[in-house]
């Protein structure tokens, strides 16, 4: 009886060895909470800018001019096909410039 348990265990070990995998289940990517400045038009950011990447990705580049922010939003629409209305784009630019801007128009 002991012997058969031992054999069963050995069998299990051998099976594992044939399928050496570090990870068997899903990996889980943790969520990071970012400091977000609340203010007018943040809702437009929330609806339009957080589907493809996190907020941290948006603000990572530091303060930008209004023109730079406008171009960034435009890039999302033109190159990455983000479905964002012109009105929302303008609001988002306002919000980003106000809270993550460098004070300069250009």
């Amino acid at each position: 009886m002991y012997k058969s348990i031992l054999l069963a265990m050995l069998g299990a070990v051998a099976l594992n060895a044939a399928d050496v995998r570090e990870i068997r289940e899903d990996i889980e990517i943790p969520y990071i909470s970012y400091d977000i400045k609340m203010g007018e038009h943040f809702d437009a950011v929330q609806t339009n800018c957080l589907t493809c990447h996190s907020f941290g990705y948006v603000t990572n580049q530091g303060p930008q001019s209004k023109e730079q922010w406008r171009k960034k939003v435009e890039k999302m629409v033109v190159h990455f096909k983000a479905p964002i209305t012109d009105a929302d784009s303008a609001d988002i630019t306002e919000y980003l410039f106000k809270h993550y801007g460098n004070g300069q128009e250009k």
Binding site: E22, I23, P30, C52, S54, G56, Y57, Q61, H79, F80
Partner: protein, 398 residues
């Protein structure tokens, strides 16, 4: 340049933020980003820029050794949706397009039906060091740590394509990985390579430093293109497609490009600059020890350690200066055992003899004579690519 003139300039560079220096020049990349207290799967806590997509940077101290441990290796994805599970029983690498016979290969088949090749090569993001540029160049504001060196084991791409049979009309091979954009219309991260660029060092790797690839570095298969920046090294590679001609691709035609002129530079706001893909890496050294603000005793022996690399010409020398760049001395290069695409370790011992701040600078020179420029001599480009300024750390002597 006059020596005194240079001395003055290097002092300006020392104020890392360097606001007020010439607009188009670079300063030093930032080196004070905090390690997150959250660890990502299979990784130790690293400098973390974003969770979706995951963007993780190695700290400077990692660069005092030739091989970068898998759990400290930088991570850069483009798309938020990356598979969080890959079942090797069903995973297949597909080969199709202009081939005589389509293939669908399991990782097991790659391991057992093809000749295994193994070599060590540096993987570096084209935007590594981007935070050095003023005005801010678009993209992640990496410090020095979007680079690593590993030993990759896998199968020659050529062998896989030959098993499928390359039709004579085929001119290009496209690579697609399993990461996806949230919208189906967003361009996928697909890459292409001309078959003329294909050499035996391009491999499909299933092993990294003797372990399976970490998920975040592209499990189960990753394209290895030594000497090239990492935008060519497609992760979670699942598809090889041969085509007659080049297909238009966002991530090749718009992103990862630099001005097509000698200085690879442009004025901020300049229009209609002709561009080219970033492709091959330039020469670089990184000091791994000491790190900024390390405290050492006066008159003690300090051994500086770091790594140097280029696109595969090999490293001829690393020079170190401990007097603000006035004089340079050759560091000792570690034996060249890992091959020309690898980090080459260097070390340099000196005795600080003055109290206070002490600068240590390192400059690599490749076998083809390419030399690392001073940060202040690097001109701006809009993507903030290919920064390779002389490395500088400042320590405290007490």
């Amino acid at each position: 340049m006059e020596r005194r003139d240079f001395f003055k300039k290097s002092l300006v560079v020392a104020g890392a933020a360097a606001i007020g220096t010439s607009l188009e020049a670079a300063s030093l990349p930032k080196d004070n980003a905090k390690v997150s207290n959250i660890a990502f799967p299979q990784k130790r806590p690293m400098i973390t820029y974003s969770d979706r997509p995951p963007l993780l940077e190695s700290t400077r101290d990692v660069f005092s050794q030739a091989i970068t441990p898998n759990d400290q290796f930088f991570v850069r994805w483009h798309m938020p949706e990356i598979p969080t599970h890959v079942d090797l029983n069903t995973f297949r690498l597909k080969v199709n397009g202009e081939v005589k016979k389509e293939l669908s290969l399991s990782v097991d088949q790659l391991k057992h039906e093809f000749e295994a090749v193994e070599f060590t090569a540096v993987l570096q993001c084209g935007g590594n060091g981007r935070s050095a540029f003023t005005p801010i160049a678009g993209g992640i504001q990496w410090g020095n740590g979007a680079v690593g060196n590993a030993t990759w084991k896998g199968v020659r791409l050529r062998d896989i394509l030959e098993r499928a049979g390359i039709k004579k009309e085929a001119g290009w091979v496209g690579f697609n990985g399993m990461d996806n954009a949230s919208y189906y219309e967003t361009p996928n991260f697909v890459r292409e390579m001309s078959l003329t660029e294909l050499d035996d060092h391009v491999i499909v790797a299933y092993e990294m430093n003797g372990e399976e690839l970490p998920y975040l570095n592209g499990f189960p298969l990753r394209l290895i293109v030594p000497g090239y920046y990492s935008d060519s090294w497609v992760k979670m590679l699942s598809n090889l497609t041969l085509t007659k001609s080049y297909q238009k691709l966002f991530f090749m035609d718009v992103a990862y490009r630099i001005p097509d002129n000698e200085c690879e530079c442009e004025e901020p706001g300049e229009k209609n600059v002709k561009t080219k893909p970033i492709k091959k890496m330039n020469v670089k050294s990184i000091i791994g020890y000491p790190t900024n603000n390390t405290v050492v005793y006066n008159n003690s022996h300090v051994t500086v350690r770091g790594v140097a690399f280029d696109q595969g010409k090999g490293i001829r020398a690393v020079l170190v200066s401990v007097d603000e760049g006035k004089t340079w001395e050759e560091a000792i290069l570690h034996k060249d055992t890992l091959g020309r695409y690898s980090f080459r370790e260097f070390r340099y011992s000196f005795k600080p003899t003055k109290f206070g701040k002490q600068k240590i600078m390192s400059k690599a020179i490749s076998k083809s004579g390419e030399e690392q420029p001073l940060a202040e001599n690097i001109k701006w480009n809009h993507g903030g690519y290919k920064y390779n300024g002389v490395d500088v750390v400042t320590i405290e002597v007490v």
